[in-house]
Point group: none
Chain length 280, copies 2
DNA sequence: TCAAGTTTGTAGTAAAATTACAACTTTAAC
DNA sequence: GTTAAAGTTGTAATTTTACTACAAACTTGA
């Protein structure tokens, strides 16, 4: 595991002085790898052995070894950690933290996506007679976004915020229709019902949701995303960004499957916006 | 550049003994980063100062610095690059490319955000009598998402997709109201008009848009995001992810400004969902 | 072959990291 | 409250590691 994440995670097990060291390192890891144990001790306002003990607590052989691990964490690839926003953070801190934890979440999500399912879902979507995107709460805007993308493909695509409309529309679904249900937790009752109605009508149900959730179990295909949520904020943040990225992937897969001529079509949709815009 | 590549490339400029060092390092770089200058000198059958000179020849400050560079080169993972999707990409390739370019875009966006403006906008929002979020097309779902977030704060917040509703609502705006207009290009005519109406009513207009665009010029505050768009796809992708992240930042700033008691409020909103969900 | 230049190693020095131990806190029990 | 035990932290000494200065040994070309 990335040592920066490890520090964040193990913060509670640290002693007072060790926490000081952790703070200084997390605040400026780039400086840390270029400092000696003495300067780092000074910056953290602790003694040199404390820094050394801090390093060992993280299962490194000592300070130089720790610096090596830190350097590797900082190397391009996985530079970002899911850093939680703190009460006392100023604008600069929370802005950077949110960007970084969003990137970190995407990185984790990427590793959890099942490519085969993506491929099969893209297949389904290209062959669908009708596509519907439904979500509620925070996932409603994701469904909304999906509408905006797939609508450009000149495919019959639907999106409703209203659960009654979602229900009525699903009642009329049939074989060949694909219904994409979006829910981070997969425990939204009314969406589970929609899934059941759809399957009773032999429509295909794709869930962008948690694998073993009540909703997940009702779906023909589940695209699950493991995303660490900052539960302190009591708001869905990273999860819906990951969902949106997944929508982008499905849309991209769709256009690639449809081939080159189809891309001209997209270009035309984009150009149709010209009149509603000021020219460059 | 990767220091391992650098060694291979600069091999010709090395002296006989330095080449020996290069060989040993290239043959087993993992061992090299965990060795002291003495052991490495021994393995290469040269003296310690030779190893040191070798390090300096590669523009490093010395042996420890060289090890740091080497460690970074060895760190696993590819950097976040904006890799464009290619016609012939399979599901695995385009999935990874989209995740990576989204992360790369966020990284670039992060560097372009003006923290001072973020801070001032958060200020405005916390003091606003009414907050409106308007966007069209792909930005509509971003505005939709903003509604979902700010609505939890128990603040009078509005969101319309319909330009007539947007217009009517803005007509009634007054001092102390904040209208957030979202548009990637900043060239959507009807949003520019909304901005003009709002300012005529002394409401404050915040644009999440391009700085020097027609819309940007009509705003009191502009939060601009430099995001590289994959224009090949003819679809907004990374831009709206960056916009959403910015919404997260504003929402977070808002809650932090409001303090601890307010967080309990958010918790209550979240708990109110319980009945609409299946329990764990 | 010899002188100028380069390369290399030896020995000493400086810096950095680690260890051992003592002083100081904290915690919990009485 | 007092006190003993456990845990934490810092000081000082020690060891390890890296670097510098300089001299010896090669190379090169006239």
């Amino acid at each position: 595991m990335n040592i920066l994440e490890k520090i964040t995670q193990a913060k509670d097990t640290f002693s007072k002085s060790e926490k000081k060291v952790a703070e200084v390192i997390l605040a400026n890891p780039q400086t840390a790898i270029h400092s000696s144990i003495a300067t780092l001790a000074n910056m953290s306002d602790v003694s040199e052995p404390t820094v050394n003990r801090f390093c060992r607590r993280l299962n490194t052989k000592g300070f130089p070894d720790f610096k090596l691990h830190l350097a590797q964490s900082l190397a391009n690839g996985t530079p970002y950690v899911n850093r939680h926003v703190d009460e006392n953070d100023g604008p600069e801190e929370y802005t950077n933290k949110i960007f970084e934890s969003t990137m970190a979440a995407l990185d984790i999500a990427r590793q959890s996506v099942d490519i085969n399912t993506v491929n099969r879902v893209v297949d389904l979507l290209t062959q669908a007679k009708h596509i519907s995107f439904f979500g509620l709460g925070a996932s409603a805007s994701v469904a909304h976004d999906a509408l905006n993308k797939f609508f450009r493909f000149n495919v019959p695509v639907m999106y409703f915020e209203d659960i009654v409309m979602q229900r009525m529309s699903t009642m009329n679904s049939q074989v060949g229709d694909v219904i994409v249900l979006i829910s981070h937790t997969g425990r939204t009752k009314s969406l589970v019902e929609i899934a059941q109605i759809a399957r009773a009508n032999d429509a295909t149900v794709v869930g962008i949701t948690a694998k073993n959730s009540p909703l997940g179990k009702e779906c023909n295909y589940v695209l699950s995303l493991d995303v660490p949520e900052d539960t302190d904020m009591y708001m869905p943040m990273a999860s819906r960004i990951a969902q949106l990225t997944l929508i982008d992937i499905l849309a991209t897969g769709f256009t690639l499957r449809r081939g080159n001529k189809f891309r001209d079509n997209l270009k035309r949709v984009k150009e149709s916006l010209k009149d509603s815009r000021f020219s460059l």
